[in-house]
Subunit: 362 residues, 3 copies
């Protein structure tokens, strides 16, 4: 739906500066914004983005000077106002048409809300409950004794194995697997004997799980994804992992068994977390990093094994000077040899030349 | 099917040198070839491979000296001749038996070519069109308003979400997901609010997509895979990515949002591309490399963050000399100290010893 | 099921030291164990774990001194005794209820054991055989001409393409793809022409395959996973790979075409193996390592490109001293310059200062 800036301003109750006829088609972040987008600024830290944005309008707080040449809505609480505008422009999708397809396969004792939607070729096993407003798509598999909350979207080819607990407003994208066995063996005489994995997976409210993700059930108790956490495609989450609230777990990252991730942490793409370690709240694991030890809150780490990012960056920058450094040291050695000669010292065989040659050979 | 070399030569019209009764069972590259295989050589660069190949016969151009002891077909256009031989030996598979299974679930207004094959337990949603010669396997899910071209192979458990456009001769392997939501949120007061992902995915002709790949739909407009590109298993392609023609995207590599990959580029296994950057045509990202900045065409990059391969290799080679180098510098310092003593200088405390000890301790 | 330690001891015939009424609910490894768990110790190497374990009881051999304060069963063969206790506490799951659902889609000439279980919405193609005790779950796809052995668990959304051979006691988790085409092309005039992939996949007895794994069929002959090997989630196994017996292939690792992995080897998480190389028996590829060359048996390698772990660790440790080392060399150069001045030598321009500045700038 399209709105004029005036319509949006009336809805959120701010003070409009600029052209009230400006057309707004969607919302966006300051950096990604394009014409037709509405953004907001809550923090002075992003003043530069405010200046550079291509957005058609921005909601800003009262204590920031409105920049000239921009359409601005001044509001005492920009993030609240933005949320209200967001909902105006993109109203929550109309609930799926309720109903249970006769072409779905549903156990007689499954309890499906009359306001849920179960599409053809879905499979729901015994003693499972499905909440109001939830849609179960074709080829979704829900095992026995699961509890699926309200207003969830379970896409095609999702597997939710027995005993899983899914909260409300959870979105699970195609091909994701919830509740597969953890990877646990005892090795006896060189044979790997499977350890029973008898725990479950619990997913709290407002979690989103990407395509072809794998989340293993716990050995005992539960693998836990707390509310508001968003998981991208092809992520691996091993047994007994606990992920805190409002984390971002980016594509192809992997979390080993029993690791714990604090609230509001970010795992960037293709990063890995070793087993049995803790990541403090508000931490960032950068892309392809491999974390092997616990880190306190507010950490930012890079590299493999991961170290604080500034240390990793300084070391990596130095690394690319290393071939040059070896040459330099060779020159210094020559100068030392000249000094030694003058001082009448015995001259040892040169060492650096050898090192340098070997380096060049590789 | 088996052919004699004479039969193949008659088909492609070359000049045969060697045993015309040689049996050929398939085609292959020079390096991988085994007895019974036919290869071709188009470029003098690979003369060494010609000498070493185990192939039973090779097609070569007129301007290359036929090697002794090999079965050779001389042809003015080896690559064309090879393609013709390829098609002779491996004729395109007979079109799937046309027909729509009564055990498939198909929306009444879907338009399925009478020459397409829809197998039992496939699902095709409303207003979707399926072209002639295309096979939709069991448990394939095709959402609403999709356009699937001709002669495509859609394997079991593929998910193609609503609005996707698939060209002709496209192969999509089991478990691949096309059109899942992009990973996009606006963070308001520490909550990640989902940004609507209202674009589509478009796959052009002759693309192949591996097992359990994930390709996200665009935020707006489209995620685009251009013609002739081949994607291996478990690859992640984020929203708004554009991949050029005839690329090779090897297994478990990942491309972040809005990145653009030029024509004829290769992403080797487990490599990663950051968001919003450009990879020039004919570039190579080597295995496990992490590219964080745009690169011009014909680049070859390695490491994380990725640098030109020769720089990365030189730095890595030097790195493994570093422990030895530290010892060397310690020796040089000792020699400087000896010189300083003789010169009557004050001697500072040794520095290198400390560094070296710390290194050894880790 | 719960047992007292006395009951377990009677079953395995050992000598009990400690409280016979101790309750045992499951088995576990010494390090992971918690109260209620039974463990075993077979090797003096793990004596420290014996001391530290939280297990409620441990089976130890006759030649190890029972630690005080622990519940102990002394047994001449602890690993055998542990296996017997394991089976007592976790008896093999009752065979699935045999039967073929009328809601499954099965080719008339498929041969299904009367003791197998085929659940609703499974698909089994022509000329495939399913052994006794095997369960085929909803949305499992078994292509034509497959042989599936006895007592296998084929979970939902598994794809097993035509011609695959699966042994006995094999577990395949949801979303795994067996037998997709290998990634093989011949490039002719910049076009990638698909090479037919006409081999198969063979999985031997006692193999476990994780969720959303991809195992490609061979170009010719077979991709082979030998008995007892365990594969975690989201692993990529390319065409013609051979994996030996009793390997552990951890999540998100990838093995390129035609590589061979020896017996009892471990690929840790997110590691990668290049094509056409050999990994010797009993080797370990550590997390995120990238192996580009063959290695002999008993190797332990790290890094990219992978080197022996102790060399990689020494180099990485030295790397983080490098920024400090550059400063040190700069100081040494200053001292050389002072000596040169005193000796009346011409002083060259300082070199190190430049390097250092560039390093700091990045």
């Amino acid at each position: 739906m399209k709105f004029t800036l005036a319509q949006i301003n009336r809805h959120i109750g701010g003070r409009l500066i600029g052209n009230p006829e400006t057309e707004i088609v969607t919302v966006s972040g300051l950096r990604e914004a394009r014409p037709g987008h509405l953004c907001f600024l809550a923090n002075r830290r992003y003043l530069k983005d405010l200046k550079d944005t291509a957005a058609s309008a921005i909601i800003i707080p009262s204590d920031i000077e409105p920049p000239s040449g921009k359409n601005i809505i001044v509001h005492p609480n920009p993030s609240l106002a933005f949320t209200e505008a967001f909902t105006l422009i993109h109203p929550p999708q109309a609930p799926v048409t309720p109903g249970i397809s006769a072409a779905a396969e549903i156990a007689p004792d499954a309890i499906i809300s009359k306001d849920a939607s179960v599409l053809p070729m879905a499979f729901i096993d015994r003693a499972t409950t499905i909440g109001s407003g939830t849609a179960i798509h074709p080829f979704a598999y829900i095992g026995a004794n699961c509890r699926i909350g309200e207003n969830c979207l379970i896409y095609p080819h999702v597997t939710i194995r027995e005993g899983s607990i899914i909260g409300n407003n959870v979105i699970i994208h195609p091909g994701a697997v919830i509740g597969s066995d953890g990877f646990g063996y005892i090795t006896i005489d060189d044979n790997h004997i499977k350890i029973p994995q008898v725990g479950i997976v619990e997913i709290e409210d407002d979690v989103e799980i990407g395509a072809n993700v794998a989340i293993d059930r716990a050995r005992f108790q539960k693998t836990l994804i707390k509310r508001g956490t968003k998981i991208d495609n092809l992520v691996q989450i091993a047994h007994n992992v606990h992920i805190g609230e409002h984390c971002l777990i980016v594509a192809q990252s992997g979390i080993s068994g029993s690791a714990e991730i604090g609230h509001h942490s970010t795992l960037a793409g293709q990063s890995g977390i070793a087993g049995h370690i803790q990541v403090g709240h508000h931490s960032i694991i950068t892309g392809q990093a491999g974390l092997t030890k616990s880190i306190p809150q507010n950490s930012i780490v890079s590299g493999m094994p991961a170290r604080p990012r500034h240390i990793e960056q300084r070391a990596k920058a130095a690394l690319y000077k290393l071939p040059e450094l070896i040459k330099t040291i060779s020159l210094l050695e020559q100068r030392i040899r000249d000094l030694e000669k003058k001082a009448g010292f015995n001259r040892p065989d040169p060492i650096l030349t050898t090192i340098q040659d070997q380096t060049n050979m590789e």
